[in-house]
Symmetry: C2
Subunit: 225 residues, 2 copies
């Protein structure tokens, strides 16, 4: 470490160690939530997964909600980057193609869908204002970038584009909770003759809703009042 | 009680007493959830509200989730009855008026909105299959009745009408959680200059989304493929 003083070196080493621990905690929470579901993973589970005492872990994150909000921010940013890239490279810029990009990108991220429903209901309520704010700023910027891409790709105005992003993410969260594959709930629906028609296939359902929304949001689709 | 034998009388009295207790338990849960929020009300809170020992209450309901699912079924039926009546009596059957009926009926029922987000995420998972099923059958019948009314009022086909009901209830749940008035979260959004534009006004937002969805779902709005 040429040019580094001993103090700088120590500080860097300790910063590296801290970052490594934060990464390990986030990875433990992510893996367990993917395997089960966000709401089933406790702080104790996360600590056990990373082989850390719970009291040590609390030096890095105040609550399980803070861990999952951090992961939710990363998922928002990741989905947004992908969606913007795909929307900007669409060959056919019609409502069906644009809706398919939004729906497939969300459904391909079941962990994000799970977080989307959990964030306002429980995660944002178990943390400090600062933690909510830093999550929300990432979520807003990510949603804003997708809305901007929708204005370019689908010719929507700003309000229409923001409503499309809200509906895409809101309904992805809601539909996913109703249909989470592998759950006892889904199994009940699938095997009960009276409930069979209640089974939701998230991706086609979401794509159909978004396609209709985009078509009905296009400037000129509303009659003059 | 003319014509009743002593046994019949006893049975009726005990059935009446049981029903009165069930009603009191449901009322206690409903009042407390309305005052705070569904997720904050525990089984102990409900028992305390009705002045009953928790162990006695467990003779009537297995879990807090079962209590709230019972209330959710009643809210579904109540909203559905009202929405069908209003849709069938609309003078102007255009997307804006139909969307306004759906949005205002939902937003006027904040307790239902709160339950809508909680049902698939947590309530349906904390109860027996029988309890899920009896809730779900009421919810499906209620949603189906509104979808039928939407076919009449907005000229949608069956799939379009079902998607409109799913979006109305799904987004009412999602938007309400983000914007629940009186919460610390809402206050943070309203007072922080960087988050102020994230405040959601549920009713106009929901009405705009549903109006665009209805317009884009109308047969003939999609170009031939």
């Amino acid at each position: 470490m040429i040019g580094m003083s001993e103090t700088e070196f120590q500080r860097a080493r300790s910063t590296d160690a801290k970052e490594a621990r934060v990464k390990a905690i986030l990875a433990s929470a992510r893996e367990q939530a993917k395997a089960r579901s966000v709401r089933e993973v406790t702080l104790t589970d996360v600590a056990a997964g990373v082989g850390m005492h719970k009291s040590t872990m609390l030096r890095y994150f105040e609550t399980r909600e803070e861990i999952f909000l951090r992961l939710a921010a990363a998922e928002w940013a990741d989905w947004s980057t992908d969606a913007v890239r795909m929307l900007d490279h669409l060959e056919q810029r019609n409502p069906a193609e644009v809706a398919a990009v939004l729906a497939s990108g969300l459904v391909a991220r079941p962990f994000f869908c799970d977080l989307l429903a959990n964030a306002p209901l429980s995660l944002e309520r178990g943390v400090s204002s600062e933690a909510v704010k830093s999550f929300k700023l990432v979520a807003l910027a990510s949603a804003g970038a997708v809305a901007d891409a929708l204005q370019r790709a689908a010719g929507l105005d700003s309000a229409g584009a923001r409503n499309a992003v809200a509906t895409a993410t809101g309904m992805a969260g809601a539909l996913w909770q109703m249909a989470a594959p592998g759950t006892a709930l889904r199994q009940l629906y699938e095997t009960d003759p009276e409930l069979g028609h209640a089974v939701v296939d998230v991706e086609p359902r979401l794509a159909t809703i978004l396609e209709a929304l985009l078509r009905g949001s296009a400037p000129g689709s509303a009659p003059p009042r």
